[in-house]
C-alpha cells in the first residue's frame, strides 16, 4: 500500500490541469460547473461543442486502449484526469455514456466493423449515446424487458417494437443501445439481443418526462417498427443479457473519483454557506458536516481500494466494490438534506418563478434519484447479501 502518485503521474496532473485552464475559457467559460446530473438541461449544444474541444486535445476516452484511439491511460492517470476535470469545474460530460459504456462494450464484445463504425464518433465528440434498458415493466427486474426485435428477411434488417422509459439524454442522442427480445417465446434473461440503434428515424419517438426538478433529462422512447441493420447487433441473438451485464460492469469504473470531486465541490459549497449564514454555530449542523466530511474522505479511500483490486483482475467481486453504490448514493442523498438544513428556511426560496432552482436546491432534489437508478438501495442490499455474504436469493414470484 502506498498513497502518493509517481512523479510521472504528477507531471500528467499538471498537463491535464494546464490544458483545462487554457481551454475552459472564452466561449466555454459559462459552462463551468454546468451540466451533469440534475443540470443536464443546461447548455446541451454548447457542451457538445466542448466535447469536440476535448477531443482535439485528445482528452476524450482517456482510458481506452491506444489501439482503439484512446490515450491508454493507466488507472492512476484516469483517476487524475477525472479529478482534475472536476476540480476545474469543467462541464458535465455529454459523451459519458458513449465513452464509459458503449465504447468499452464494443471493445469487449463488438465486431471490428462495429468498432470502426462507432468508436470514431465517440472519440471525436460528435456522436452521443443513450441507454435503452429500463421499460415500464422492467425496472429493478431488468430481465423482464418486453421490447421485441424481429429479423425481417425481406429488408435484411431488425425491426424493433416496444417502449423504453427513463432514457437519460435520449433527446440529445444520436444512438441508443437497446436490449430487446429476439426470441418471442422467451422470458427472463434468455432470448435477448443487444442492439445499436440510430435515433433519427421515423420508427422512434422520444417524449421527455418532466422530473421532480421541473426539468427533463430523461425520456420515454417509443419503438414502432424502428429499424436496425443486421450488423448492429452486439453478440448473437440470445446473448444480449451477457453483453448488457458486461456493460454494467464498466459503469463502476474510475470515474467514481471524479464523481467524488464533484461531491467535494458540493460539500465545499455547503460548508461555505454554513460559515456565511451562521449555521456553522449550530451544534447539530456541525456534527452533520463533520460526518459528511468523514464519509466523503472514506469514500475516496474505499475507491482507492476498489481500483487497486481492479488492476489485479477481479474488481467486481470485492466487498468494498459491492457496497460502493449503496454507500455513495445514500451519502449524496444526505448531503442534499444537509444542504437544505444549512440553508434553513431560505432553502425554500427559488431564484425566480415558476421554478428556477439554485444549484443546491437542484442537487437536493436530484439526489433522490441516486438511490433509485443503477440499482435501487433495496436491490443493492439484496446484491450485497446474496453476492457478498452468500445469503439465499430472494425467491422469484409466480404471478
Amino acid at each position: 500500500m502506498k498513497l502518493s502518485f509517481s512523479a510521472e503521474d504528477e507531471q500528467f496532473r499538471q498537463e491535464v490541469a494546464s490544458w483545462l485552464r487554457d481551454n475552459l475559457s472564452g466561449e466555454f467559460e459559462k459552462l463551468k460547473g454546468r451540466g451533469g446530473p440534475g443540470d443536464e438541461h443546461s447548455f446541451p449544444q454548447e457542451r457538445k461543442v466542448w466535447e469536440q474541444k476535448l477531443a482535439q486535445g485528445k482528452w476524450t476516452c482517456v482510458g481506452w486502449p491506444q489501439a482503439y484511439g484512446g490515450r491508454g491511460c493507466s488507472i492512476e492517470q484516469q483517476v487524475i484526469f477525472f479529478e482534475e476535470y472536476a476540480r476545474a469545474r469543467a462541464p458535465g460530460r455529454m459523451g459519458h455514456i458513449g465513452e464509459g459504456l458503449t465504447g468499452p462494450t464494443l471493445i469487449a464484445y463488438g465486431t471490428q466493423a462495429q468498432r470502426d463504425k462507432y468508436l470514431p464518433g465517440i472519440l471525436d465528440g460528435t456522436q452521443f449515446w443513450c441507454q435503452g434498458y429500463s421499460e415500464p415493466g422492467a425496472g429493478s427486474d431488468l430481465a423482464n424487458v418486453k421490447t421485441r426485435a424481429a429479423f425481417d428477411q425481406a429488408s435484411g434488417k431488425w425491426r424493433i417494437n416496444g417502449q423504453k422509459v427513463w432514457t437519460s439524454l435520449a433527446h440529445e442522442s444520436d444512438y441508443c443501445f437497446v436490449i430487446a427480445r429476439t426470441d418471442p417465446g422467451s422470458v427472463g434473461h434468455k432470448g435477448l439481443g443487444f442492439f445499436l440503434v440510430e435515433m433519427d428515424q421515423p420508427g422512434i419517438q422520444v417524449r421527455p418526462i418532466e422530473q421532480i426538478t421541473g426539468t427533463s433529462e430523461f425520456n420515454e422512447v417509443f419503438f414502432d417498427d424502428a429499424e436496425c441493420s443486421s450488423e448492429d447487433i452486439v453478440g448473437e441473438p440470445g446473448e444480449g443479457w451477457k453483453v448488457a451485464m458486461g456493460l454494467l460492469g464498466f459503469e463502476r469504473g474510475v470515474s467514481t473519483l471524479g464523481q467524488q470531486m464533484l461531491f467535494q465541490n458540493e460539500f465545499d459549497e455547503v460548508v461555505r454557506l454554513a460559515r456565511s449564514n451562521g449555521a456553522a454555530s449550530d451544534p447539530v449542523i456541525r456534527q452533520r458536516i463533520a460526518r459528511a466530511h468523514t464519509e466523503l474522505k472514506i469514500m475516496r479511500y474505499n475507491s482507492m481500494r476498489m481500483l487497486s483490486g481492479q488492476s489485479t483482475g477481479d474488481g467486481s467481486l470485492q466487498k468494498e466494490a459491492l457496497i460502493y453504490k449503496l454507500f455513495w448514493a445514500t451519502w449524496h442523498r444526505s448531503l442534499g438534506e444537509l444542504a437544505m438544513d444549512v440553508m434553513g428556511p431560505e432553502c425554500e426560496i427559488l431564484d425566480a418563478p415558476p421554478y428556477a432552482l439554485n444549484r443546491l436546491q437542484s442537487m437536493y432534489l436530484f439526489v433522490r434519484a441516486d438511490t433509485i437508478y443503477g440499482g435501487t438501495n433495496q436491490i443493492q442490499r439484496n446484491i450485497i447479501a446474496e453476492r457478498g455474504l452468500g445469503m439465499p436469493k430472494e425467491p422469484r414470484g409466480t404471478l
Binding site: 423482464n144 422509459v165 422530473q211 415558476p354 433522490r368 439484496n382 422469484r396
Partner: protein
C-alpha cells in the same frame, strides 16, 4: 380522560375529508399551484360560505362556530392529506389565533366578525429573515408619534403574505431591546410593500413584507391581557401544532399511496409489497405516522386548554415542540421513503409524491425544524 374524537368531531373530520376529496384532487392542487395567488379564490369563497371553516374556532359572540382547537387540528390533518391550497392556515391558525390571544375585546369585535364573514383573509408576520421562530426573530420596530404608531422593518417567510387582507405584525419598540408588540393593520395601509417569494413547495405561498414609515392608530396595537412577548410565543406554538397536524395528514397520505402502489407494482413476478424489505419500510412509516398523530392530538388538547385559559395550557410550549419536532422529521422521512418505494415514477413531476415530498420539507422548516424544537425542549429540561 377522553383522548379520542367525539362523535361530533368525527363527523366534522369526515365531512372535511369527503369535501376535500372532491375539491382538492391532484388536478385542482396543480392548477392552484400555477397561480401567483396560490389558491383558487372561488374554492376559498365556497369554503367560507358553505363550510364555514374560517370561523371554526371563533367564539359565537364574534360570529364564529365556537368550536375548539381539536376541531381545527382535525381539519388541518385532512387539509394536509389532500394538500389543499388555501389561506386557511394563515387566516385561521395564525391570524385568528393572534386575535384570540393578543387582542382586547374591542379589537376582537372589530376584526373577528369580518374574518368569519369570509371576506377577509389574514396572516402573521414576525420573522425578520432568520432561522429562529421565537420572539428573537423579530427585527421590525415601532415608535409612538403623537396619537399614532409608526412601524418600520421587514419580514420573510410570511405565509400568504402577498395576498392576505389583514396583517398581524410583530415589532419591537425602537430603542427598547426586548419588548414586542403586535399590531393589526389592513395590508393596503400606505407604506406596506409585499412580494411573493416563489418556493420549492408550490402548494403554499410565502412572501416578504416591508414596512416603511407605516403609520397606524394606537388602536392597532393588540392589547389583550398578555405581554406581546408571551402572546407571540403562544401564537407561534398554536400555529406549530396546526402545522404538525397537517404533517400528520400528509404522512398518512404518503403511507396510503405507498401501500396502494407497492401492492399493484410487480417486479420479479411478485408485487413489490410482498418483499420484506418493502413491508418493513412501510411498517416503519406507519409507526411514525401513528406516533406523530398521538403527539398532535395531545398537543391539540393542550392548545384547546391554553385558548380557554385553563391551567393545562401551561404545557403548551412543551406540547408544541414535542409535536412539531416529531412530526417534522416523520413527515420528511415518510415522504422520502414513499418516493424511494415508488422508484422512477416517484421522481417524476406527474406523480403526486413530489408534491408531498416538497411540502414535507417546507413544513419542516416553517416555524422551526426538528432540531430547533429539540433544542427548545433541551433548554426546558436542562437550563
Amino acid at each position: 380522560m377522553e383522548f379520542a374524537f367525539t362523535q361530533e368531531q368525527e363527523m366534522i373530520r369526515d365531512t372535511a375529508a369527503s369535501f376535500l376529496a372532491q375539491v382538492s384532487d391532484s388536478a385542482a392542487v396543480r392548477a392552484a399551484m400555477a397561480t401567483e395567488t396560490g389558491y383558487d379564490p372561488a374554492l376559498w369563497s365556497r369554503i367560507c360560505t358553505q363550510m364555514y371553516w374560517q370561523a371554526i374556532h371563533v367564539p359565537e359572540a364574534y360570529g364564529g362556530m365556537g368550536l375548539g382547537y381539536v376541531e381545527v387540528v382535525a381539519m388541518m390533518e385532512q387539509m394536509g392529506k389532500h394538500l389543499l391550497c388555501s389561506p386557511f392556515f394563515s387566516t385561521v391558525c395564525m391570524g385568528v389565533n393572534a386575535l384570540l390571544i393578543a387582542a382586547n375585546d374591542e379589537q376582537k369585535a372589530q376584526w373577528l366578525p369580518t374574518i368569519c364573514e369570509g371576506n377577509t383573509t389574514a396572516t402573521l408576520a414576525f420573522n425578520g429573515g432568520v432561522n429562529r421562530w421565537d420572539t428573537t426573530a423579530v427585527t421590525a420596530t415601532w415608535r409612538k408619534e403623537g396619537d399614532n404608531i409608526v412601524l418600520n422593518g421587514s419580514y420573510r417567510y410570511v405565509i400568504d403574505g402577498h395576498t392576505a387582507d389583514l396583517l398581524i405584525v410583530a415589532a419591537r419598540q425602537e430603542g427598547e431591546s426586548s419588548d414586542i408588540a403586535l399590531f393589526v393593520l389592513p395590508a393596503q395601509t400606505p407604506g406596506v410593500t409585499r412580494a411573493w417569494l416563489p418556493t420549492m413547495d408550490q402548494a403554499r405561498r410565502q412572501a416578504s413584507i416591508a414596512l416603511q414609515e407605516v403609520t397606524v392608530e394606537t388602536a392597532a396595537m393588540l392589547s389583550g391581557a398578555d405581554s406581546g412577548n408571551a402572546a407571540l410565543t403562544r401564537i407561534v406554538d398554536l400555529a406549530a401544532i396546526a402545522l404538525a397536524a397537517e404533517q400528520v395528514g400528509g404522512s398518512q397520505q404518503m403511507l396510503d399511496a405507498t401501500v396502494a402502489y407497492t401492492s399493484e407494482r410487480v417486479q420479479f413476478n411478485r408485487t413489490i409489497a410482498s418483499y420484506q424489505a418493502v413491508k418493513h419500510k412501510a411498517a416503519d412509516m406507519m409507526l411514525q405516522v401513528e406516533v406523530a398523530r398521538s403527539a398532535v392530538y395531545y398537543a391539540a388538547c393542550v392548545a384547546q386548554e391554553a385558548l380557554s385559559g385553563s391551567t393545562l395550557g401551561a404545557e403548551l410550549p412543551e406540547a408544541a415542540s414535542v409535536a412539531k419536532s416529531y412530526c417534522s422529521d416523520a413527515y420528511f422521512a415518510v415522504a422520502g421513503d414513499a418516493l424511494q418505494l415508488f422508484g422512477g415514477v416517484g421522481f417524476t413531476w406527474e406523480y403526486d409524491v413530489h408534491l408531498y415530498f416538497k411540502r414535507a420539507k417546507s413544513s419542516e422548516h416553517m416555524l422551526g425544524n426538528g432540531a430547533y424544537h429539540r433544542e427548545r425542549l433541551a433548554a426546558m429540561l436542562l437550563d
